[in-house]
Amino acid sequence: MARVVVDVMLKPEILDPQGRAVQGALGRLGLSGVANVRQGKQFVIDLDGELDSDRSATLERLAAELLSNPVIEDYRLTVVEG
């Protein structure tokens, strides 16, 4: 078993209206001094068997092509186990 986590965030220069809305809400609900909030996505992928170099390369490619849109998003891939 292998677990891979892919975090996807909007590039810093892209407007994040959802992050901004959350920032406003945090303030209204009692958290002072919120400098910034960015909202992103996390994919938790559990794989049978091991993560060999072939699968690793495929995963890396799909993280860049499917899980994120490189025009507006950055991703970070972390192998948690396996």
Binding site: E13, I14, L15, L66, N69, V71
Partner: protein
């Protein structure tokens, strides 16, 4: 002229696109997302809707459908392709067009009758309009904000590749009020608003949308 209209799971405005093609005088051909055979159509429309529920990102999953492999190939070879709303999103995800569409800046879905200015008529889908012509067509989206980096935006502007711009009100935060763009060759066009809903006086705010469909029929006839 045979115009293909693709149905993905979750496509909604495929029937309307087909109707618009018929009213403009063409023959509409239904294309299935799972089938890479596009039945020799002369042009393709990727309609509006919520393909795959807009899951992951709008158009992100549809872009990998078997039918898209063929469409991308033919588009590179010059076949006219129009992406409306979700279709525009799919074209950007497929990299047939630059940029991306993100959530409306005001965070709501918005449906309104939108004034556009046609800014470039050197495309297969806008040739029957005149430059600077203002039209009114429905706009309805939640993720309609067009974004790209400044270099890309400048390139689009400098090369006349912005085909339509929002007039009066920017309904979604699109950069530079961009409502639609084309590729360099002019055969691929992406448009956020819905011309297929402005083809009948009975059901639309105007019939200004017909021009998109009439254009491609004329373009195709001209290229025969």
């Amino acid at each position: 002229m045979r115009i293909g209209v693709v149905t993905f799971p979750g496509s909604l405005d495929d029937r309307d696109a087909a109707r618009a093609v018929r009213i403009a005088g063409g023959e509409s051909v239904a294309l299935w997302h799972g089938d890479d055979d596009i039945k020799n159509v002369d042009a393709v429309i990727l309609p509006g809707g919520f393909s795959y529920g807009d899951y992951l990102r709008c158009g992100a999953i549809a872009r990998f459908a078997p039918v898209m492999t063929t469409i991308i190939e033919r588009a590179h070879a010059g076949m006219p392709v129009l992406g409306i709303c979700n279709g525009f999103q799919i074209l950007c995800e497929s990299h047939l067009l630059p940029g991306a569409l993100i959530r409306n800046d005001h965070q709501h879905f918005i449906c309104r009758d939108q004034t556009l200015r046609i800014e470039d008529v050197n495309s297969a889908w806008t040739s029957s309009y005149s430059t600077g012509q203002e039209i009114v067509v429905p706009l309805k989206n939640g993720e309609g904000g067009f974004v790209a980096d400044d270099a890309t935006l400048d390139m689009l502007e400098d090369n006349g590749r912005v085909i339509a711009r929002y007039v009066g009100l920017n309904p979604n935060g699109s950069r530079r009020d961009i409502a639609g763009i084309r590729n360099e060759r002019g055969n691929v066009v992406g448009l956020m608003p819905h011309p297929e809903h402005a083809v009948e006086a009975l059901t639309g705010p105007t019939t200004d949308g017909l021009g998109f469909f009439a254009s491609v029929l004329t373009s195709l006839a001209g290229s025969r």
